[in-house]
Symmetry: D2
Subunit: 426 residues, 4 copies
């Protein structure tokens, strides 16, 4: 199943979408505020989000999993799926590989497949939270922070191996998510575990190529339910500082305690030049890994407001590694990802619409009512015409989900691959 | 300070707002979906939200309070303030009195002031969480659920007195919010406290005029920090059933534990014909009493989606008693209320936009992606032109906040009343 | 591996435990308070908790599972494991079966195995949250509350089948835990789903033998992450009332939103005669299913305080169906269950120690400080001598965990069953 | 009202408490573990907790306050109240002053009163969350982090003034709790606010005498309900590092989001040598400021377990500034403080009982079950005999609360001071 630019272009034409007139309205309205809709369209068109290789099949919970037909059975097929997303949106131009689930057997062949879809290799992900068959050391009681040296070393070696594969593919960064922690009070000594983790991370950092970055993820709980070694941004930030300049914190939207003000964390990290990566999803209760924007779209906008501000004012941060990190328990994974991409770009466009100059003045005057009006004015604006313009500009489908369904993509995939395949991943 | 229809009409004319063209766009888009924007405009124009008499001055926290100038010093002045809100929006046509803070000295005079502003008397509120000077019994350890009979009886009598005042004013309902609970384990026997509360509520219910309704509010914590007798909707619903047909549950958006699915509670109560009242505010952590829509506007929309569905499908419920129950710690209280009214009407209009027929079909087919698309399509629509049309239709200001500021209302109030007045309330 | 009374008795004798002197101290202290330690010893000795058939192997999370050696591979072996627990403690004299994981092939043989261990068959559990191979209808979008009639009927039939198996085994109750809900707003109509659920539960209730009870479990989230049909005790209570007298609510300690006051829910349900079953575990974040008492032992005590009060004052409730519902991700499952049993009996003994008469007086006098002192005095007492006496009295091991380790039970099981078996379950 | 050592000694004698025999049992049991009960008794006897000057009267909530009779009306009377606590317990030998509530008029006289009660002056507290009459700049929109320079400078000057007063009294540290934050998204620029706060803190730090320490408190919300500048330990730690060596983080138990693992934060800060102060209280929902140990005594024990470990292994931390920071909404404030002191010392004694050597071995072997057993063995031990021995040793009452009631302290205070006094504070 390959979706060519021609097919999309034809579909766009026949659709007769009226977004252009709506966009003109928006331009007129914004003209008063010294905000350029054309600039926003360009920025939205340029925005690229990586898709992780494990997110193309059905996800599940500890209570089970309901399979979805046509799941990719190989890394090539996963790249093909991302290729479909990218063709439809021109926003999904990168893959984030997860090792050992997606070790490429033939590097050159894989690079060619990726290139054929114009997909880059973004951050590499290691996995030290599961034991693989024949593993020489166990991660049951931890990996980089394990009290046993053999497990720590084994996990360090695995990360170095991931870097090696990434180098061959052209990736430039490593994401370390550490499930290490404890299920019970007393199980681990907090200080020892933290010290071991810091030492292990430094060992990996020392093996990092000079043009690579390392992202340290944090998470308060799950799969451990009493404590997690890197439980919050503060711990990650402390560890990144200990490692060195090219170590950064990675924020995953689902990895916070109830009611956390995430946008403030984002602002703090960007202020300090230590925000490196960003994982999108949405949640109501915990790390629910739902479609981006499905539950708290205003929080997503507020976070993007800080990201946009930081990208404009804090040049000391690297280009952020954006990735969708969701689980598709109920929906067609590709449709789910299309909805996530849409929500991301909407929040981004709305954040770009914020009248930063007026906001600054209102903040200086403590005009709280006006501050709120300025943010909400941007948020309440229907920016979907902006996304449509951006997509048409870059050769994508004006309405990607509609095209996906019209083209019968899922049925074609099931026909090709069968209904019983199961993608590697969670 | 009185804002006349003429002044508003003049301002509207000179403003040259372009909303009409935007509204036409919306009409065209919706025409395809068998949704009538004109109907929505009418419904939005008809929607009335009560303003509580205690919410016109600055609020505070246990850490203190920062006064706001020009606060109303009497019930008459409070009605004048609501009159300003109603003149500007035609959506705030009711007051909800709080006794004993706002006992009218001259019923007839007060009714005349209210009538002059076209303000009705909505639900009456009793207060049994504070001791008044000279009180014959103490509420320190509870009121309707107190273990001591004298305190229970005193609280029952107070509620009957509130009903009496309400009858004279033309109100038709009583809201009972009970702070009763315990700060420490063991302090109270849960079963005894619940039984006492049920008996006391029945005594009040028996004193209710035949054309009155009683609303029972629930709240998990604060001002008691271990337990609250009516801690959740389940307890309120159980008590309302025990009292009788004209007893209903009242939902306050801020009165829930973290992550509660409030829209589901709303749907359940409407399904059972037991939703009576609704208090608007917003919150991030607890009962924060912030401006409506300031934190979680999508949740507000989802709740309105259930309210609209219920109003259309569950005739066994009464007309809901809507009220804004927010605290104004930082903003000009009147501006804060204008922002709340705006957010309420936006969520209401968006909910009215939901294509219920298509949604039903998609739900039947378990097309989860489409279900989400339908809701989000309504939510992402910029419905502010609808509100503007509704307001112009009913003689209100197209842009109420702008008019409020242009007319220099706050300055005028400070001039009239001084900067040191303090409204009764929290 | 069979642990005989003789072996235990011998071990007890050689141990020379000094608990008798400690118990005498306790008796002297309590003599002043009109509390009989001997009575408490008897009650503790009589207390029986069911072990679910799925909890004898290693548990896992969506991120994976670390196997434990010697897991039972059949229902017979599961009963053998519970037999070990019961021999060591004389407190685990019941099994709670989960169908279809543990459908007995030969009813008579299974009953004999159970009888040989003196294990009764407590509540039966149905499973409608996973699709089984060859299923005629899917539970992907729900079971009893599914919008499709075929899935609802299939789930009803499954429950009736579970009752049938239970009847043959001698069970007298059915536990229904419903995972039904939605991952996304809009996915399901709340009112329709609730109505369907109520109707389905009534169909099952109508198929219940006259001497059976039905327990309706509730849970706020997981495996659905937006809404769950039976989200709280209020919904379960409402449904139980709709079904009839022999339908009750079941409380699982892990199934609550953050900060919920569970003991108050227990008190309310007992007051209304509607508490039927109780699932023990502990948690810090969500439904973590940790060892009972591992995180919040004081909350467990407060809950037991209400349970004891209810058992003494609310005869309208049935004998509660107690069960441990924990997951063993890290520990030896049998050791984990031994620790859970210990924590349950400690909390029970402490609750029995509460001086109810003095507490009632202190509550009547609003002597909050004394109320707390009374509860904490019971809680701070080291009641382990009581448990030891109760166990010795009933022929169990004074120190079960010590005996388990001394006898090398796990090694023996691994020897018998191998290290690669995997018990059915989560 | 003065409680002399003689009176206490007499009461102790007549009481005939049987704790000595219980203590002997404990000694025998612990002898096997290489833990010395005598050492623990000594450490418990030496432990001193400061009482804040604002905590001797009734507290309240935003919904009101119920006065308590006999509240201290002056700083002298507050010291007298702490004197009573210290005489009864010998554990409350310090006061923590809050300025401007408790500016001493006559330094020398105040020092004499304190000395007469053997009370030291612990950390000084500034207050920049309320405007005082005649204030030259407003804290309504923040103090050290205010966007306006005049408010920032005013707040800096206030802190320097507090240091000055503290120097005269003999205090050696300053606690800065900053309420600064925002009630609404957009109200403040996170980066600017953080930068301003850092600069202001540095200004204060530069004014710190060389032998002084500065403690930076954090809190996620309240009195601001959208964001707080110093929202978590990570932010406080970052700011303390920016200020310098003598700046430390202060942990208040109530200042965390739901489900936070506080003991891990404590361990991290001690590991890094940056834990300076500690505020005790307990809570179920938010910053409830309840009696220490009233809700989560096991969590308190786990925290003390880390504190004890840190005190033994991390000499780079200063002697911690311990303080009770609770609000007395329901109980007699002095009785409430006595209960808090009891709970603190119980947790401390239990933590000292932990067999650290065995725990280390069990952790090394990943014997999770044994790790839990070791902690719980200490926690389940009734250590009240240890406290009694420690108190008798130091000349305090064996049972302070009993003595307080027997001596009729509250009645005497009401007689002396009247029933209408109101202590300054919240």
């Amino acid at each position: 199943m390959k979706i060519t630019p021609d097919k999309i272009s034809d579909f766009n034409k026949n659709q007769g979408d009226s977004y252009v007139a709506e966009l003109d309205f928006l331009k007129n309205r914004c003209a008063k505020q010294d905000v350029s809709i054309d600039d926003i369209v360009s920025k939205v068109a340029d925005f690229q989000v990586a898709v992780p290789s494990w997110a193309l099949g059905a996800g599940g919970t500890r209570f089970g999993r309901f399979s979805y037909g046509g799941e990719p059975a190989s890394l090539e097929q996963k790249l093909d799926d991302i290729g479909i997303l990218h063709a439809l949106t021109r926003s999904a131009g990168a893959v984030s590989l997860h090792i050992p689930w997606d070790i490429p057997k033939d590097i050159k062949a894989i690079k060619e497949v990726a290139a054929s879809h114009e997909i880059a290799f973004d951050a590499m992900n290691s996995n030290t939270f599961q034991n693989q068959d024949g593993a020489e050391a166990s991660y049951k009681f931890g990996s980089l922070g394990n009290i046993r040296k053999d497990s720590r070393n084994y996990a360090i070696q695995h990360n170095l191996e991931v870097i090696k594969i990434g180098k061959e593919l052209g990736s430039k960064s490593l994401t370390v998510w550490l499930a290490d922690g404890a299920n019970f009070p007393g199980q681990a000594n907090f200080q020892t575990a933290l010290q071991n983790t810091e030492n292990s991370l430094k060992s990996i950092y020392n093996g990092l190529p000079e043009d690579w970055k390392m992202f340290i993820e944090y998470k308060p709980y799950e799969p451990n339910f009493y404590s997690t070694i890197i439980q919050d941004w503060g711990t990650s930030f402390m560890l990144a500082n200990a490692c060195g300049e090219r170590a950064y914190t990675l924020v995953d939207l689902g990895h916070h305690l109830p009611n956390t003000n995430i946008e403030q964390i984002v602002a703090t990290l960007m202020f300090k030049g230590k925000l490196g990566g960003f994982h999108f999803n949405d949640s109501k209760y915990g790390d629910d890994d739902l479609t981006v924007g499905a539950i708290k779209p205003y929080a997503l906008f507020l976070i993007f407001n800080e990201l946009v501000y930081g990208m404009q004012n804090n040049p000391q941060n690297p280009n952020l590694a954006w990735m969708i990190d969701a689980s598709h328990n109920t929906k067609d994974p590709l449709e789910d990802l299309l909805q996530s991409l849409e929500a991301i770009l909407i929040a981004y466009a709305q954040a770009l619409l914020v009248d930063q100059e007026s906001l600054k003045v209102a903040q200086q005057e403590n005009d709280v009512v006006k501050c709120q009006e300025i943010l909400q004015d941007a948020y309440r604006t229907d920016v979907r015409p902006v996304l449509k313009a951006a997509r048409e500009k870059s050769g994508a489908a004006i309405n990607p989900l509609q095209v996906y369904r019209s083209f019968g993509v899922r049925d074609a995939l099931i026909k090709e691959r069968g209904s019983q395949t199961k993608a590697t991943g969670l």
